[in-house]
């Protein structure tokens, strides 16, 4: 015989589980969105990657 959860207690538990699941999914979405927003802002991250980059090195004056 299949076990069926029909009582109000099980409905509440199911609702709780769905709620927690939605919260977790929402939290993941927020982390993703924040990452995208922060990466797009970008400017402050430049020069902290420990790699030489022409775009951020001071211009060199040519001498004769």
């Amino acid at each position: 015989m299949a076990i069926r959860a029909e009582s109000e207690m099980h409905q509440r538990r199911f609702g709780r589980n769905i709620g927690v699941a939605l919260c977790l999914v929402g939290f993941c979405a927020i982390l993703f969105g924040l990452t995208v927003a922060k990466v797009r802002q970008g400017a402050s991250m430049e020069a902290f990657d420990h790699a030489p980059r022409v775009s951020i090195t001071p211009p060199v004056e040519e001498s004769e």
Binding site: M1, I3, R4, A5, E6, S7, E8, M9, H10, R12, R13, G15, R16, I18, G19, V20, I30, G33, L34, V36, A37, R40, Q41
Partner: protein
Amino acid sequence: MTDATANLAAAKAEPAGPQEAGFGDYVQLLKPRVMSLVVFTAFAGLMVAPGSQPWFIYFCAVLFIAIGGGASGALNMWYDADIDRLMKRTSTRPIPSGRVTEGEAFGLGLALSFMSVAMLGLATNWVAAGILAFTIFFYVVIYTMWLKRATPQNIVIGGAAGAFPPMIGWAAVTGGVSIESVLMFGLIFMWTPPHFWALALFMKSDYHKANVPMLTVTHGRAATRRHIWVYTLLLAPLAMVLGFTSIGGPVYVAAALVLNAIFLKGAWDIYKRDETMAEADAYAVEKKFFRFSLYYLFLLFMALMADVALRQAGFAIGSW
């Protein structure tokens, strides 16, 4: 019959009732109605602050400030479970009704406190996160654990915790504190006592049962009426001053003038009444004053945001 079906049968025979918490009970622990004020004032603080951030950062800032506020509400319910059981108004809350255990509320409150502070710091800056952490500490430790049960001025002190959100919103954008954010704090801080005491006058709660020293009980209703008048008198100039800072403008000043006049008139009417008059018309003046106090704060912050929107649209008037 297997154990599982036996358990199901037992569950059917004996309804779980209040013993089994639904998701809504945990939401209720976060005091959603208080959260709505936090969301609105934090949003206003973000909007009027100079500077700009991506919209998603604004959304996250409001969300984490609201969660921080909710977390302090859960910790408040955890600590106050003993007195909540004694008072009719609070006896149906999740802990006194037995649906959520005290330990669960404490765990939820603590976890959400740390999460909201850390996430606000990562999303915006650590000044905003620091103020949020202090707000939670202030509400839970200074207000709930200490002063709520010790002084009839508890509402005044508790109001400070509710006044921080616009300051946090401002700090989330600017990374600091300024006269404008302090004045927004002051506005809500001074608004809370007349707002709450007006409610206390017509919502006769059983605080005496729980030994909570509410002003209406410790000093009487006449003293409460006097306090409403005095705090409203102090609030009015504070609300006006905000209009002459960098975030004020003609819309705010005009709104503050009108709203202050109505609010002062309401507070004066309450001050001039006694209990016999109030009971005769079923506290009509007090109820009207309480309802108006909600509009007062809402409209003032809306006016601040309107002025900022007008300035951004290029409709600046004079030095404003």
